[in-house]
């Protein structure tokens, strides 16, 4: 009984995901939300030139450096996160709407994180691990219109959260 109930719930959730993504389609290439389902996406859109270690966007090793923690930047990042991120992400490893932030700067390069938070839609469409995450969370991470500097400050706050000194 319990098991069959769960299956039914999953089926419904899966169906609404399809509907939701379809509804949000039509924005054209700029929003990038042009695909029908997550599964279809992974089959048809993962391109050879997508680098899952780098992500897609402006940032790479050459323009993102990780030195000693910059406390002032981390504080700014904390304030921005309060407005734009922490409705959906906890600072622990616990999932809220999206995954918790604890350990993220150890799992991911800083430039990958910056690409993802400034340019989420193409990466949700192309990155296998992000797609796997979408199947768990069922909500596409929104583009919160972060400036480059703001993205770097958020990453600095994430580093502080991960105990970088």
């Amino acid at each position: 009984m319990n098991t069959s109930m769960k299956k039914a719930v999953i089926a419904i959730a899966g169906f609404s995901l399809t509907a939701a993504v379809l509804v949000s389609c039509g924005g054209g290439s700029s929003s990038g939300q042009t695909k029908s389902t997550a599964r279809e996406t992974s089959e048809t859109l993962t391109t050879d030139d997508y680098d899952p270690n780098r992500g897609e966007g402006k940032f790479d090793e050459s323009n993102v450096e990780a030195g000693a923690l910059n406390m002032a930047m981390a504080e700014k990042g904390e304030a921005i996160s309060g407005t734009k991120c922490l409705s959906c992400h906890k600072l622990s490893d616990e999932k809220l709407v999206g995954p918790g932030w604890e350990g993220v700067t150890e799992r991911r390069s800083l430039h990958w994180i910056m690409n993802f938070i400034t340019n989420p839609d193409p990466m949700i469409d192309k990155d296998p691990e992000v797609q796997a995450q979408l199947e768990l969370c069922l909500v596409r991470m929104p583009n919160q219109n972060l400036a480059d500097e703001e993205a770097r400050e958020i990453v600095e706050f994430m580093r502080k959260n991960d105990g970088v000194k």
């Binding site: 959730a13 609404s16 995901l17 939701a20 509804v23 949000s24 039509g26 924005g27 054209g28 929003s31 309060g82 407005t83 734009k84 922490l86 409705s87 959906c88 809220l96 709407v97 069922l138 909500v139 596409r140 929104p142 583009n143 919160q144 219109n145």
Partner: protein, 658 residues
């Protein structure tokens, strides 16, 4: 080259002859290639935005041309449950007037803001006909940004027509009425006490803010439509009048006695000089001026109390009357500014006046022997360029193309007629279905008409669409006017009732759309910039809920401690910063409506619970796969209950100590 042109000419003549042989019925008025001319493929854009008055719905509708697809309905003088307009605390002041909250009006005409006589795509001005008002719609947000009420007026019909650089938008009263300050008079004393007032509303070039610069007080007649001069006639304005009989009852008969009414020519530059020189009387009046601030996301309404009035009888070089047959509606100036077309709705001809001749007549004092209430009347022949003979029945309104042609709508004979302005010859006529009112050519009122299409906005629909009971959708019809003959290519339904409309190229507007409001610049008094700032506060019997939305939850989503007798204000901040992700907000039993909150915006719903119990609240705009989960509960306890204010989300609850 010449021979090929002739062949083409012959071919089209043949085609026309074939068409002309067929009876004009609804089924065969459309030729074979019409579908391809109006087809806009999925994902493709229309060529024009068409801003169409919504008449007695009080709204402004926006269609794409040539597809006729409805893109947007903008509430202006109306409440709109879809958008929360007039329901949210922030938008209620927009509908304030000197009569209080007036959430309806009759929106007749549309005028795009202009630079050098060409639409610039910044704002659309629209009029409220009933409780006289003028509104400015911002074309970066497609929202009403400002509404100003008009004193000394009774029906703002002759509006909102603007000058070449939108220096002024005019607002002429349809019904002459006594001045507001001295209005308890007998209706029988119309000729003595009733006056026309034309407001010249200035527009700030940068902010768009409107201000009643001055009013012209005129003899008591009815003002119908108007048009600015342009090019050589810049500095002049032309208004059509009717009821120059000054009837105060049974106007149907009594206002149709004279063979000719007037077009009123106004030298507004001269009037402006008088105002700058300190002339005119300051009058005590009362009118509302409402402005929506995009940073606080809040409207304010201010009641103003003074207006400057110039009595045109005291300044004889401002206003001249030109006789025009018969109860003219349209009063339209061609792209060169030289020709002024009067459309006497009860007349069987179309007079075309010449600006040069009008100037000469004024210089020569070629006036009738008798003034009209002290205003000089230019001799008809002295102002007339010529007449279009037998154009049709019931001419209403004229627009122009870039090739020297005019297009006039005929209500009684239900047709649109193309004619040449120079030689006054009728070139083509096509039926409309049915009884066309205004018509519109993109840019057809400007110095540089774009031509290509003509839209007829019809008064009667009858059998054009699937029937829907006694009331039918309103009807518009699109004609291709790129060739010599006009070709009907599309019917499309509109919201009621379309009067006038204007269209501009999509490029002028589409790339400057606001997509989100920057949450960091949100200056709303009750904003919560992030969930850490959400809270519930009690001030006496007011409960203020600082609530945020993000896909897919409300914060807080559990609220207790509200008591019967409280007024609860939900200040909803949408934390999203992505285009096309509004969230809605509703709570059971709210006696007004819902909210629709744009990304980065804060909007407030007032709720006065009427019973104790548990009240669900939820997001009304499908936002994500977990939209159905985006909800919460509010507990209402009896008055004086000891349940404290508490609120929270998930496992985090905050209790406010008493």
């Amino acid at each position: 080259m010449k021979s090929s042109k002739i062949i083409i000419g012959l071919l089209s003549a043949a085609a026309v002859a074939i068409v002309a042989c067929k009876p004009k019925s609804t089924s065969n008025a459309v030729s074979g290639d019409a579908a391809s001319k109006v087809y806009v493929a999925p994902g493709k854009y229309d060529e024009f935005y068409n801003f169409v008055s919504g008449g007695f719905s009080g709204q402004l509708s926006v269609y794409g041309l040539p597809s006729g697809r409805l893109l947007r309905v903008i509430p202006v003088f109306s409440m709109d449950p879809e958008k929360g307009w007039g329901f949210s605390e922030e938008t209620k002041p927009m509908l304030n007037t000197s009569h209080g909250f007036v959430p309806w009006d009759d929106l007749h005409h549309v005028e795009m803001s202009m630079t050098d006589g060409i639409a610039d795509g910044k704002w659309a001005f629209v009029n409220g006909n009933n409780t006289p008002r003028l509104a400015r719609v911002d074309l970066t947000t497609f929202r009403t940004a400002e509404i100003i009420e008009l004193p000394n007026s009774g029906g703002n019909h002759s509006s909102p027509f603007g000058t070449e650089n939108s220096e002024y938008i005019v607002a002429g009263t349809r019904f002459s009425v006594p001045s507001d300050a001295n209005s308890d008079v007998s209706i029988e004393s119309y000729k003595e006490n009733f006056k026309g007032h034309i407001s010249f509303v200035s527009v700030d070039k940068e902010s768009g803010e409107m201000n009643i610069a001055f009013q012209l007080k005129t003899p008591g007649v009815n003002f119908d439509l108007a048009r600015t001069g342009k090019g050589k006639s810049h500095g002049w304005f032309f208004f059509s009048t009717y009821n120059t009989e000054q009837a105060n009852t049974l106007q149907e008969v009594n206002a149709s006695q004279k063979d000719k009414d007037f077009i009123m020519a106004v030298n507004w530059k001269k009037a402006e000089e008088y105002i700058k020189a300190g002339k005119g009387a300051k009058q005590k009046v009362k009118y509302a001026h409402n402005v929506f601030d995009e940073h606080t996301h809040t409207a304010t309404s201010v009641i103003k109390d003074e207006v400057t009035v110039l009595d045109v009888a005291e300044y004889p070089d401002i206003v001249y009357f030109i006789p025009c047959p018969k109860s003219p509606h349209g009063c339209d100036v061609d792209p060169t500014g030289e020709y002024i077309v009067g459309s006497g709705k009860l007349a069987a001809l179309l007079p075309v006046f010449s600006f040069d001749k009008i100037q000469k007549a004024i210089a020569d004092k070629a006036f009738e022997s008798e003034t009209y209430s002290g205003i000089p009347v230019i001799k008809y022949e002295a102002a007339l360029y010529g007449e279009v003979q037998k154009p049709g029945l019931g001419p209403l309104h004229t627009e122009f193309d870039a090739n020297g042609n005019a297009y006039t709508s005929f209500f009684v004979s239900s047709e649109v007629v193309k004619w040449n302005v120079k030689d006054l010859q009728v070139l083509d006529r096509q039926p409309t279905f049915y009884s066309v009112g205004h018509l519109m050519v993109p840019g057809g009122n400007t110095k540089k008409p774009l031509g290509k299409y003509l839209v007829a906005y019809n008064k009667i629909t009858k059998d054009r669409y699937l029937p829907t009971g006694p009331e039918l959708s309103q009807s518009a019809q699109l004609y291709d006017i790129s060739g010599e003959k006009m070709q009907l290519i599309l019917d499309f339904p509109t919201i009621g009732e379309p009067h006038y409309a204007q269209a501009v190229a999509a490029e002028l507007i589409k790339d400057k759309q606001v997509k989100i409001f920057d949450i960091n610049k949100n200056a709303h008094a009750f904003v919560a910039k992030g969930e850490a700032e959400t809270k519930v506060e009690r001030i006496g019997n007011q409960v203020h809920v600082y609530l945020t939305t993000v896909r897919s939850h409300l914060s807080p989503d559990k609220i207790e401690g509200v008591q019967l007798g409280d007024n609860v204000y939900f200040h909803v901040t949408n934390l999203e910063q992505d285009w096309d992700v509004p969230h809605g907000f509703a709570i059971k039993g709210a006696s007004n409506g819902e909210l629709l909150v744009m990304p980065g915006e804060t909007t407030t719903l007032k709720w006065t619970p009427d019973r104790i119990g548990i009240f669900p609240m939820y997001c009304t705009d499908f936002c994500s796969a977990l939209h159905q989960e985006m909800s919460g509960y509010v507990r209402v306890s009896p008055k004086g209950s000891n349940v404290p204010i508490s609120y929270g989300l998930g496992d985090k609850m905050t209790t406010v100590k008493k």
